[in-house]
């Protein structure tokens, strides 16, 4: 009968093979974990791109197909006051409210959060109007230390005809909690905790960081820059359109033959 090999393997062989297998597994795991994180970020990018593409197309469709004849730009400030954190006052409303309170010897309201609102009013060639509104309120965070300690991040873009404006909520690409009153260096807090501290602010990972609007030289230029901790200021909505542009009729164009 054939004699079987029953020598087995020695301890040192087992150990060496074990070390090799562990090393390969760890290196593969690191690579796979990196790709997994990358997949999440690519998902975020895709959401931001879809948002940017749809909104840009919405505006450029109006400017190209209907034609832009005039554009006007305003920047306004609105305030949340200490007494009612859900009520938003314009600068004028706050002044009037405080004047009447002073007259009645009541304590005046003091703003605890400022919302910046950028408004672009456009008139199209068919006489219709379009309004673009960009709202920006920063909660206190490591990026905006001067932000509000009593209100969460609030960002919103609205676009449409004045009586039918559509809300374009920023895409959900994560958020975190920040409590400036914590004595720790991290200041992280759980915003989903129903018993969270009153100073624990919800900070959106994607914020409207920088708004640059210009209507000079008969060109409307709208730049809405986003900020994300992973992408920095890489993504933005960037719409450029001439105001009152008319090109020559087709009949007058000499065709090339080069």
């Amino acid at each position: 009968m054939k004699r079987l090999n029953n020598k087995g393997i020695t301890t040192i062989e087992v150990l060496i093979c074990f070390v090799i297998v562990v090393t390969i597994t760890i290196s593969i795991y690191t690579a796979v974990a990196g790709f997994n994180e990358r997949k999440t970020l690519e998902g975020y990018k895709e959401k931001i791109y879809s948002y940017k593409n749809l909104l840009t197309k919405e505006m450029q469709d109006d400017f190209i197909k209907k034609g832009l004849t005039s554009a006007r730009y305003e920047k306004e400030y609105y305030y949340y006051a200490n007494e009612d954190l859900n009520k938003l006052y314009s600068e004028q409303e706050l002044k009037e409210e405080n004047a009447s309170r002073e007259a009645e010897s009541l304590p005046t309201l003091s703003p605890v959060a400022t919302k910046t609102v950028y408004k672009v009013y456009c008139t199209l060639k068919d006489g219709s109007e379009r309004v673009l509104e960009i709202e920006q309120l920063f909660a206190a965070s490591s990026y905006h230390l001067g932000g509000s300690t009593l209100k969460d991040d609030e960002f919103m873009i609205r676009y449409g005809s004045p009586d039918d404006m559509i809300d374009w909520d920023l895409p959900e690409v994560g958020y975190s909690g920040y409590n400036p009153n914590l004595n720790t260096s991290a200041k992280d807090c759980d915003v989903d905790d129903p018993y969270r501290s009153g100073y624990c602010r919800k900070v959106q990972d994607l914020s409207i960081n920088n708004v640059i609007i210009s209507t000079t030289d008969n060109i409307l230029s709208i730049y809405i820059g986003f900020y994300h901790p992973e992408f920095a200021s890489r993504y933005a909505i960037n719409v450029v359109s001439p105001i009152n542009y008319s090109s020559s009729d087709d009949d007058t164009i000499s065709n090339w033959n080069y």
Binding site: E13, N53, I219, G225, A236, Y258
Partner: protein
């Protein structure tokens, strides 16, 4: 009867196979890794901002106020392209001023204050045709090692002399001008983009015979990256 080898693998054999497999995996990994970089680069090809930007440039080119200047009529045939410049918008001063402001607002790279020297190139609709050697095709032009000075000058000295008369430079900038003269006319990023584009062998659905290709230098909000876009032109 022949005795069967029943001694199994020795340590050295196991190690050799393991090392062999590891090397193969490492090679596979390193050959797939550049795809990620390629993908990131393509994020800046024909994105929505670029598409609308070249659309407005196309509108200027299709306007009767823009005409290829005399002496450069054969550029598209001989070189495969002609550079679009706002100085060539001659029929209408208002439209020339608009062109200058527009290329600035669109962040077209390379433009001077007159809206000239912009990285905007008008080519034929089709970018390459290996069966037609009677004319230069744009993709072929990308393969040439054309230097910047060769676009409009016979020698480096002529380029430098003109470069120094530019109000933006002083005579102390001769080193800068010399370096610029010897730079490649088409940057590596621009060439990558053109090679990425198809040859457009099928005819345009809009009967367009030309196309415009532009490079943008995105600098707003502390950014610093280039993007590229193309669109067909009907002239």
């Amino acid at each position: 009867m022949k005795k069967i080898n029943s001694s199994g693998f020795v340590m050295a054999e196991t190690l050799i196979v393991t090392v062999f497999l590891t090397v193969i995996f490492a090679m596979l990994y390193s050959s797939f890794l550049p795809f990620a970089g390629e993908y990131e680069k393509r994020e800046n090809y024909d994105n929505i901002d670029g598409k609308y930007a070249v659309y407005w440039i196309k509108r200027i080119i299709e306007d009767s106020s823009y005409n290829i200047p005399s002496g450069k009529e054969n550029y598209i045939k001989e070189r495969g392209y002609i550079r679009f410049e706002c100085s060539d918008v001659t029929g209408d001063d208002e439209k020339r001023a608009f062109c200058i402001n527009m290329v600035r607002s669109l962040q077209v790279s390379g433009c001077d204050k007159y809206g000239d020297k912009c990285d905007i190139f008008i080519t034929r609709y089709r970018l390459n045709n290996v069966n037609d050697s009677s004319r230069k095709w744009f993709k072929e032009a990308m393969k040439d090692d054309t230097k910047k000075y060769q676009e409009n000058y016979d020698s480096v000295e002529d380029y430098v002399a003109d470069c120094l008369t530019d109000t933006a430079h002083t005579s102390s900038d001769s080193e800068y001008c010399n370096t610029e003269a010897e730079k490649r006319l088409f940057s590596s990023g621009f060439r990558d983009y053109v090679f990425f584009l198809p040859e457009y062998t099928a005819k345009s659905l809009n009967y367009a015979n030309y196309r415009v290709i532009a490079r943008f230098h995105n600098r707003k909000d502390n950014n610093n990256y280039y993007s590229y876009a193309t669109i067909e032109v009907s002239r």
